[in-house]
């Protein structure tokens, strides 16, 4: 367990794992660790919510268990399930064996050996150290599943009718993420530390691109971040996130681009924008040339 006694320690450890967190996020993580509460991250797609859990797993040096939520997810696919084929097989074996089936009763069928462990169960009863549990896109799940999570998030325990209550020996670090497609119930959020992850500032995004794409030319890196920040000010349907900025930087690196031109920008626009109307809006409005011109006017190397 690394030394995480101060907020600065959290920031430093995360930066060591290539995640640059601002102080408010580091404070939220620090409080989660100290108060032993889950972290609820909300924000636009592509701002690095899932990456927080991945980075924390690396910081704590524990495995990451991920539960991807979807509409219709239920406790059987999230927590545990009885292995019915195995149970039926056990019944058949008992019947065919010389021993009489009196030895077979309901208790013997509902043992741990017939249990199929799903991500939540594995997070509470791990074989090694307590993992980082990522419950991704909780807003996609149903209200019933949210209610089911309440016991786990507050008590770190689960109740299996046949086996009783199982409590985590060591509390896992839980991260819940949401894209805010719907409001998650207050009862669930009350049990968590909430943090809204916004788009980063220019300086922070530049540091992120520098860290993740070190091979890119310094001036080109600045241009990439500046253009992405500029695009976010446009009334687009889907604004480019940090993930798209990194993808674009990688794309420009792969194309061995040395300087941004309107042609290169137009050709690689699909990496940044994923909506036809958005692309049309940028292309038709002469926005590309205008933004490149703004870049050049800001560039001191261009006379």
């Amino acid at each position: 367990m690394p030394n995480l006694e101060r907020i600065e320690d959290v920031m430093w450890q995360l930066s060591q794992k290539q995640y640059l967190a601002d102080r408010s996020l580091a404070t939220a993580i620090f409080l989660c660790l100290k108060l032993e509460r889950p972290l609820f991250l909300e924000g636009e797609p592509g701002v690095g919510k899932t990456a927080v859990a991945q980075a924390m797993a690396q910081v704590l040096n524990v495995p990451l268990i991920r539960l991807q939520c979807y509409e219709g997810i239920d406790r059987e696919s999230a927590l545990y399930e009885w292995n019915y084929p195995k149970q039926l097989l056990a019944i058949r074996l008992y019947e065919s064996s010389s021993e009489h089936s009196r030895a077979l009763n309901q208790e013997s069928l509902y043992q741990a050996e017939f249990l199929l462990k799903r991500p939540l169960f594995e997070a509470l009863m791990p074989e090694g150290p307590a993992p980082v549990l990522l419950i991704d896109e909780i807003d996609r799940s149903d209200d019933e599943f949210e209610a089911f999570l309440l016991e786990i998030l507050s008590e770190f325990q689960i109740s299996i009718p046949e086996l009783g209550t199982i409590r985590a020996q060591e509390k896992p670090f839980i991260v819940l993420t949401s894209n805010r497609t719907r409001d998650v119930h207050d009862a669930l959020k009350r049990r968590c530390i909430y943090h809204w992850l916004d788009y980063p500032s220019f300086g922070r995004e530049l540091e992120i691109v520098e860290l993740k794409v070190p091979g890119l030319d310094q001036q080109l890196r600045r241009d990439v971040v500046q253009l992405v920040q500029r695009l976010r000010q446009e009334p687009l349907d889907k604004k480019p996130g940090v993930a798209e900025a990194l993808d674009w930087a990688h794309a420009l690196e792969a194309l061995m681009t040395e300087r941004l031109s309107p042609e290169v920008f137009a050709d690689t626009l699909g990496v940044l924008l994923k909506d036809r109307e958005d692309i049309n809006r940028v292309q038709e409005g002469n926005l590309i040339a205008q933004m490149i011109k703004e870049l050049e006017s800001d560039d001191p190397t261009v006379s």
Binding site: T27, F30, L31, E42, L88, D183, R190, Y194, D237
Partner: protein, 364 residues
């Protein structure tokens, strides 16, 4: 009570009046968290309180504003030196006044714009005469009991099964254990799920005669538990569903006139749809049905109406247009907005409660 906890308490009480659900436990949590972080700078306190007290993006906007005002009182002073000057100036508690608001009226107005229920799309509102003229109309129909078909959709099927049925393995196993032999397979009942439906209801002057009828229809739908979300629009968009929690329909109907400031005003369909789409896009699910109730009149130039309708249609399951005048003799869709709506929506007649029920049953 320490000075810090007293200040936090006042901030929490103020936030409560803006819809924050903060209990004593939250205050204790905040204090213990501050002891852990040992960072009593404004940003440090802000980060801690935000993490513990804020539970949504809308709350974050209000919290940031309120915290800035709260912190302004301490500007240049350490947070724990003395009680804030404004604390003693709080008005004495009046029995009839339940809200504790310590921000100024100007700030109150600014923060109120961020409340969830109403989205102000423009500064234009109906005149008081228009509102009064509509208030004089008390033609609220009696809400007869009627059985409407449920708006279900098929549940998510976990396992494939032959003949379209799902095995209930636990029940089969349980029964077989009690009977001693595997004889009979049991099947799960199909789990019905409500299909979310969003109504965009035109409450402008031209649709004023239909307001009581549609209100009765929506009220009844809400009463029987249908998952409907109703937005009224004329010159601005107003979220109406929360108003109907009143158990008395007549009082709820009166409340409607109080809450919708532009009821019976002009029609800004394009502006409304643009605002609805930009605000609700993350919340729109592909299973949602969107019903647009309007006569197709638009006071604007419809420059972006086609584009926004195309987008909304791609984000929902069905986009229907309920037109009260549709299929009536000597009526034809002649307006530009109406023609665009007919192209993107499936048009249904909804001039009477029977028409509405028929259209609803087609959705179910």
């Amino acid at each position: 009570m320490t000075l810090l906890s007293r200040n936090l308490w006042v901030l929490a009480r103020s936030l409560r009046s803006w819809g924050f659900t903060l209990s004593v436990a939250d205050l204790k949590d905040a204090q213990s968290a501050l002891l852990l972080t040992k960072d009593y700078s404004f940003s440090g306190v802000h980060d801690v309180l935000e993490g513990l007290w804020v539970r949504s993006y809308d709350q974050k906007c209000i919290f940031d504003k309120a915290f800035a005002l709260w912190a302004r009182e301490f500007m240049g002073e350490p947070l724990m030196i003395k009680p804030p000057s404004w604390f003693s100036q709080l008005p004495k508690k009046i029995k009839t006044q339940r809200r504790v608001v310590w921000v100024s009226k100007e700030e109150t107005k600014k923060m109120a714009t961020q409340a969830q229920e109403t989205l102000w799309t423009s500064t234009h509102t109906a005149s008081s005469e228009e509102v009064l003229s509509d208030q004089s109309d008390t033609g609220m129909p009696a809400l007869h009991f009627w059985q409407s078909p449920r708006h279900y959709r098929h549940g998510y099927r976990k396992r494939p099964a032959q003949k379209g049925r799902i095995w209930n393995v636990p029940k089969t196993l349980r029964k077989s254990l009690s009977s001693g032999e595997l004889i009979k397979w049991y099947y799960s009942a199909r789990r019905p799920r409500w299909r979310p439906t969003v109504f965009l209801w035109d409450v402008s002057q031209s649709m004023a005669p239909f307001i009581p009828m549609f209100f009765g229809f929506f009220y009844r739908l809400s009463e029987i538990g249908e998952r409907v979300d109703v937005w009224g629009f004329s010159t601005q968009l107003t979220h109406l569903s929360p108003r109907w929690r009143h158990p008395n329909p007549l009082l709820a109907y009166q409340e409607l006139f109080r809450q919708v400031p532009d009821l019976g005003g002009g029609t800004r369909l394009e502006h409304t749809l643009l605002t609805f789409y930009s605000q609700s896009k993350p919340r729109l699910k592909h299973a949602t049905d969107i019903i647009l109730i309007t006569d197709g009149y638009e006071s604007g130039d419809c420059a972006e109406l086609e584009a926004v309708l195309s987008r909304i249609r791609r984000h929902c399951h069905r986009l229907n247009w309920w037109n009260p005048w549709y299929l009536t003799p000597q009526y034809e869709i002649a307006t530009k907005a109406g023609k665009i709506l007919r192209h993107y929506c499936s048009v249904q007649k909804a001039g009477t409660i029977e028409n509405c029920l028929h259209a609803w049953s087609q959705l179910a």
